[in-house]
Structures are given as structure tokens and as C-alpha cells.
Amino acid sequence: MKKGIFIVAATMLMLSSCATVSEYQRMYINDSDMELSLRTGKKFEHAFQLYREGAAGATGGKSGGGCGCN
């Protein structure tokens, strides 16, 4: 619970940044290695972790359900 509150507070603090980044300034942000979702190549690495571990979800990928996994 405390860890969750810390994560949310840290995120809100970072979100309060006032820097405006225009479209033409996003060459680093738009790089494919900067994407915030789960990498396509990690798809099956993530899948076996759903079977072998009790925790699931909040990764941007599959979260359980649709399989006999955790």
C-alpha cells in the first residue's frame, strides 16, 4: 500500500513538469526504443512469466485470462 502511494506521488510530481515539447523536438521521444508499451519481441518472455509467477498485469501486455495461467 505504501509502495503504491509512493509510486503515484512520484508520478504526479513528474507530471507537474512545465516543459513543453513540440512535435519537431520529439526525435528522441519518437524513437522505437523509447516506446512505453511492452516490446513485441518480449511477447513470449512475458507469456511464460504469467504461468511461472503469481503476479500479473500492469505491464501493457497480457494480464491473465484466456489461458490456464495465473
Binding site: K3, V8, T11, Y28, I29, K42, E45, E53, S63, G66
Partner: protein
């Protein structure tokens, strides 16, 4: 009479003119064309070994090999309102062999459980409006393996604001699954069966309801982060019907018995930073807890080292720690008086580490000069769990545009 004939002729003339076509058709009707965007093939080979199989009550081999393949196609179309529609089709096919699943019926080479295939197609649609920053999407999926059938669907909505520096996404998913109850062989036979486990073709529902809330933000030119909260509720057949449990106060074999509902609360945090011109650091942390008593922490760090604009190395490390569920106990450690019980080491207390390396090649004129072959990537991960389970996985990704 003449008036009626004129009216009839007039009506006939109007009907005929409605079906006529002038030489210059100015209706503006154009056949919709779907534009091919990309195709991706991901294949992997996974192998594991350990000695705490849940099928044999927390002892015994966990040897397993799995070959997974997924083929994705993406198309797009722009409508009259300049909204972009994206359609994705996924076809997935896995095949595995498992020494522990074979022990559901150890006296024979059980073909249904020791070797199995899984087939899982899905279709997705997404519509985005660059002007308003809104997006809407939906997905339907199906999955079939020897004892498990799943129908899934989801809808999602997204909104960009703050000059497209901040994105909010909401996704609701449901999986309506059926699990065929295959019990250990000794509990099925009519002579030694324990009544309710005698061989019957019974399937029970196992349903999952998931809500994803994601917030992402560009902090500056080189730094962006995301927060994901994904509450998840599972109801129905949550115990694995062929997982044996042995007790300290009886010689009888039982099967795993877990609560029929499970509420999961994971909270994930991603932060990516671009250092200089050649290095990206991708970090991930997740805190997880559920009402079975399990708590977990996950930490990942991946570096994307750009050796050239076309070649990238991706070393990565993952650390995971979890506490056991309240109802877990090792082989012959539990009492028959307990209401719920399991010896599944996937739900025990452990730590794990993953060490991986990937290489990605994306040349300007196509891989090996093949024009539409956009990218090739290979990844390897070694995984060690403190319960003496270890595994290796090799993945290959091919991307075509």
C-alpha cells in the same frame, strides 16, 4: 383516364431515372481501400526444468519445452473525417511437451496432456483522430487448447491532451473461459476413485474481468514515463484440477482446492530516458497484491545500445520477488483440516532473476537487401528461480512493411 395514365407514366419515369447513371458520376462514392501497414512474425523456443511439479504434489520433474509462434497483420484506412482506422489480425499457435503433465496419468503415455497445442486468433480495431486526440478501439479473441477454451473481448478509449504530451487510456476486458476438469488418474478409476472425481466430462467456467487505466506523459525531450493500474477479478474454476496435494495427516491424495474468486491489484511504472545519441534506458517497476495473500515486486532494466543507426544491442535484467499465497504448503506439510490448499510452487514464496540479451538490425534498404523486410531481432533470456527452476527462451522477430 388520361390523367391517371400520365401520372403512372410520370412515376415510372422517376423510378427508371433513379437507377440510371449519368456519364459523369458525381456522387463521390469511392471504394474503401485498406492499406497494408506491416506484418510481424514472432517465434520462440522455451525450455525449463525443475523438481517441484504441482502435478505430483510439489515434487517431481517440471521439464517442459514450448514452441510459440505469432503472426500479426496490420491495415489502416483514413475516412472522410480524416480519422485513421487500424485493423489488426493475430494468429497464434503454440505447441508444448511437458513431463509433469504426463504424470496426470503416469501409467500410460497420455497423449492429450503430455503434448498439446494451443491456437489463438484475434482481431482488433482502433480509430484515432489526430485533431481531437481521441481514440476508440475494440478487440475479440479466441483460444483453444486440450482442456481450455476461451472467448475474450475488450473495448478501449484514449485521449491526448496538454499539446499531446499527456495520454490517458482506459481499457475494459472480459474473458469467458471453460476449463475441462481432467483429474489425476488414480482419482478417476471406478475402483479407487473418491466418488466425485470419477471420470466425467465436466467443464467449469473461469471468467476474468479486467480494467486497465494508463497515464503516460512526456516530461522533456528525452524523458517519458507511464503509470498503469490494472485491477483484475477472476471468478470460477481457479484451482487446477490435476494438481495433486499430499497431507501430513492422511495417505489419501487430494487435488488442489483454492478460492473461487481472486481480486488482483497491480500497479506498474515505466520510465524511459534517452542518453546522448546512442543509449536508451528502459525501466519498469510493478507492485502487486491480491486477496489470496500474495504480494510481489518486479524490477526490470533494459538498455538499448545503438551501435549504429541500424544496429542495436539490448542487454536486460529482471528481478522478481513474491510472497506465498496464504494456502500454499510444501509436500506433506498441510493438514486435511484446512479449507483451501495448494502445493503449486508458482504460488509459493520465491525470488527470480532473468538475464537477457537482444540484437536488432533495421537497415535502410531492407534486411539483406530485401526491400520490404524492415527488421530482424533476436532475443535470449535465462531465468533462474529460487525454487530450483530454471529456463531459457530464444525469440526471433521478423517485421515487414
Amino acid at each position: 383516364m388520361k390523367k391517371i395514365n400520365l401520372i403512372i407514366l410520370f412515376v415510372l419515369f422517376k423510378i427508371l431515372s433513379a437507377f440510371s447513371q449519368s456519364e459523369e458520376d458525381n456522387t463521390g462514392f469511392k471504394l474503401k481501400k485498406l492499406k497494408f501497414e506491416e506484418a510481424t512474425l514472432v517465434s520462440s523456443y522455451y525450455t525449463q526444468n525443475g523438481n517441484h511439479s504441482a502435478v505430483t504434489g510439489g515434487i517431481g520433474t517440471e521439464k517442459l519445452n514450448d514452441s510459440s509462434n505469432s503472426f500479426d497483420l496490420f491495415f489502416s484506412h483514413k475516412d472522410k473525417k480524416n480519422r485513421i482506422h487500424k485493423i489488426g489480425i493475430e494468429l497464434g499457435f503454440d505447441t508444448y511437451s511437458s513431463a509433469s503433465s504426463n504424470n496426470i496419468d503416469p501409467s500410460t503415455r497420455s497423449s492429450a496432456s503430455g503434448n498439446d497445442q494451443r491456437f489463438y486468433p484475434s482481431i482488433s480495431w482502433n480509430r484515432s483522430n489526430e485533431k481531437t486526440g481521441n481514440s476508440l478501439g475494440a478487440n475479440i479473441s479466441f483460444s483453444k487448447e486440450w482442456d481450455y477454451t476461451s472467448f475474450g473481448s475488450s473495448i478501449n478509449y484514449g485521449k491526448s491532451f496538454n499539446k499531446k504530451q499527456t495520454d490517458v487510456n482506459v481499457k475494459a476486458s472480459v474473458f469467458l473461459d471453460q476449463w475441462e476438469l481432467i483429474y489425476p488418474i488414480e482419482l478417476r478409476s471406478s475402483s479407487s476413485g473418491q466418488g466425485q472425481f470419477r471420470q466425467r466430462n465436466i467443464s467449469k467456467p473461469r471468467n476474468t474481468f479486467d480494467l486497465t487505466l494508463a497515464l503516460s506523459h512526456i516530461v522533456n525531450k528525452r524523458f517519458q514515463l507511464a503509470l498503469i493500474f490494472e485491477p483484475n477479478l477472476q471468478k470460477g474454476q481457479l484451482s487446477t484440477p490435476y494438481h495433486r496435494v499430499y497431507f501430513k495427516d492422511t495417505t489419501k491424495v487430494f487435488i488442489e482446492n483454492l478460492p473461487s474468486t481472486r481480486m488482483k491489484l497491480p500497479l506498474g511504472f515505466r520510465a524511459n530516458y534517452f542518453f546522448g545519441d546512442h543509449l536508451v534506458a528502459r525501466t519498469f517497476y510493478r507492485f502487486y497484491k491480491d486477496d489470496w495473500g500474495l504480494k510481489a515486486n518486479t524490477m526490470e532494466l533494459e538498455l538499448a545500445i545503438k551501435l549504429s543507426p541500424f544496429l542495436t544491442l539490448t542487454p536486460n535484467y529482471r528481478y522478481y520477488q513474491q510472497s506465498a499465497i496464504d494456502d500454499f504448503a510444501e509436500y506433506k506439510e498441510q493438514s486435511i483440516k484446512e479449507e483451501f490448499y495448494s502445493s503449486d510452487y508458482d504460488l509459493s514464496s520465491f525470488t527470480s532473476q532473468g538475464f537477457g540479451l537482444g540484437i536488432k538490425w533495421k537497415p535502410l534498404d531492407g534486411v539483406w537487401g530485401v526491400k520490404h523486410w524492415d527488421q530482424i531481432e533476436m532475443r535470449y533470456l535465462h531465468y533462474d528461480r529460487s525454487t530450483d527452476l530454471s529456463s531459457d527462451i530464444v525469440s526471433l522477430l521478423l517485421n515487414f512493411k
